[in-house]
């Protein structure tokens, strides 16, 4: 009990850092990922090739390795140390973690969105073209909304992975949930209890995230819910259809 009183306020401090790391990296990562997905699907061979290699490199290497390369590796390059802007990013553990997480999640997001964009029926796009919609309008009104509807379940998964990935920031001095948990561990040696509480905090964040994604999903799929309801409504003679 005493331990909970000691640990929970400290770990809650870490929770805000975890939330902030996730939020900023997802904001950057989603936009980058969308850009990469569009590059990948464009007819420009150079852009498509770049996006493909980018996603392969970042998906094919562990996040921890990427974080170490950005933090310890780039920190040794004098070119970066002499550049005020680059050093501002690389010098700080949390900014470095955001950089690595954002670039990493961008790679996964680009694949998820590419799948979504490819699932948009060609007929709909052609119809929009026939109506005289410009490319941008077509993307905004037809392709993107349909793609995101397809991609959302997989993207929800990716968001959860980002939340869990933030725990690796503790290896580069960032005090988020895991960082504080490690510090509490060496103060109290109550490893099981401390990390159990830390685990519960991650779980709560992720359950909340799942609930939010679900409700967005339900909102985007509301036409299907109505259709299903219509089918399952009992007929007048009382015999229910599956």
């Amino acid at each position: 009990m005493e331990l909970i009183q000691l640990a929970v306020p400290v770990l809650l401090k870490g929770l805000w850092v975890t939330a902030a790391l996730t939020l900023v990296s997802v904001l950057i990562g989603f936009n980058l990922g969308l850009g990469l997905a569009l590059m990948r699907l464009s007819s420009n061979a150079f852009a498509a090739g770049f996006a493909k290699y980018y996603s392969n490199v970042f998906r094919g290497t562990p996040l921890l390795v990427q974080i170490f390369i950005f933090y310890y590796g780039l920190g040794e390059v004098s070119l970066i140390r002499d550049n005020a802007v680059l050093w501002w990013v690389i010098s700080d553990g949390s900014r470095c973690a955001v950089l690595a997480l954002a670039l990493n999640t961008a790679a996964y997001t680009s694949e998820i969105l590419r799948g979504g964009l490819m699932s948009v029926p060609a007929g709909l796009v052609e119809a929009a073209q026939a109506c005289g919609m410009s490319r941008i309008l077509r993307f905004r009104r037809i392709e993107f909304p349909l793609a995101i509807r397809q991609a959302l379940p997989a993207y929800g998964n990716e968001l959860i992975l980002v939340v869990k990935g933030t725990s690796l920031a503790s290896t580069i001095t960032v005090l988020e949930i895991t960082g504080y948990a490690k510090r509490l561990m060496s103060q109290t040696f109550a490893i099981f209890e401390i990390f159990a509480i830390a685990g519960v905090l991650y779980l709560v964040v992720n359950l909340l995230l799942i609930a939010i994604i679900r409700s967005i999903e339900r909102y985007l799929m509301r036409h299907e819910a109505q259709a299903r309801q219509a089918i399952s409504t009992p007929r007048i003679d009382g015999s229910a259809v599956i």
């Binding site: 310890y72 920190g75 040794e76 010098s91 700080d92 490690k182 561990m185 103060q187 040696f189 490893i191």
Partner: protein, 265 residues
Amino acid sequence: MKLKVLSLLACLAASTGSALAAEGELSIGTEGAYPPWSMSDANGNVTGFDADVGALLCTKLEMKCHFVVQAFDGLIPALKAKRFDVIISGMSITADRKKEINFSVGYAELANMFVAPKGSDLAGVTDVDTLLKSLAGKKVGVQAGTTHAHFLEKRAPDADLKTYDTLDQMQIDLASGRIDAAFADQSALQDFLDKPDGKNFQLVGVQIKSTFDPTLGEGIGVGIAQENTELKAKIDKALCALIADGSVGNASKKWFKTDISRPCN
């Protein structure tokens, strides 16, 4: 026959207490990344002052040494989980740690010091109180789970403490200017100053002895599981003999160029 069964049972009882010690082998947990105390190479060979102390101890106890390398902040949990029999890893004896594990007599004692860039405000400080006050708002590196970390958490709460899993990582950040100062024991800092990376740095001229604050411990000892009282008695006796005959002192001179062995009382 009965005797055989009994001795078998005795063997079994001993082996549940400490699986490896029963076979005449002493498994030693050490960090392996804390020069010159404990360094491990890519092949897993451990060298350094602690490796020498371990080897001396094993010879005295007529056991075979076996080193297990693991990050410092995980050593005590691993000892409690019986992953090895003892910890020899430059570990200071502190009240907090004593709640978890037992310690042998102290075998060494070092001064704790700060290192800072040459010519910085911190570098010129000459007394402890001014030093601790001037740490407010400064980024100070310490190794996770060390007495140094606990000391600063208690005595310099306004410092922006950066904790590192290994000393190497802390030295990289010190060299790259991410942190304003680092706190560790003198030997570890001297090791950094002797490297090319350390050429623009200097020791802050304040030695903080373990008598200054209880968080800094009572010298450096061998960590032993609490229930293993028999092993503690054997190790204490062997260590005292090794300190008295100068073996530990000689090992210390080899690695630190000075005798840091702590007289056994």
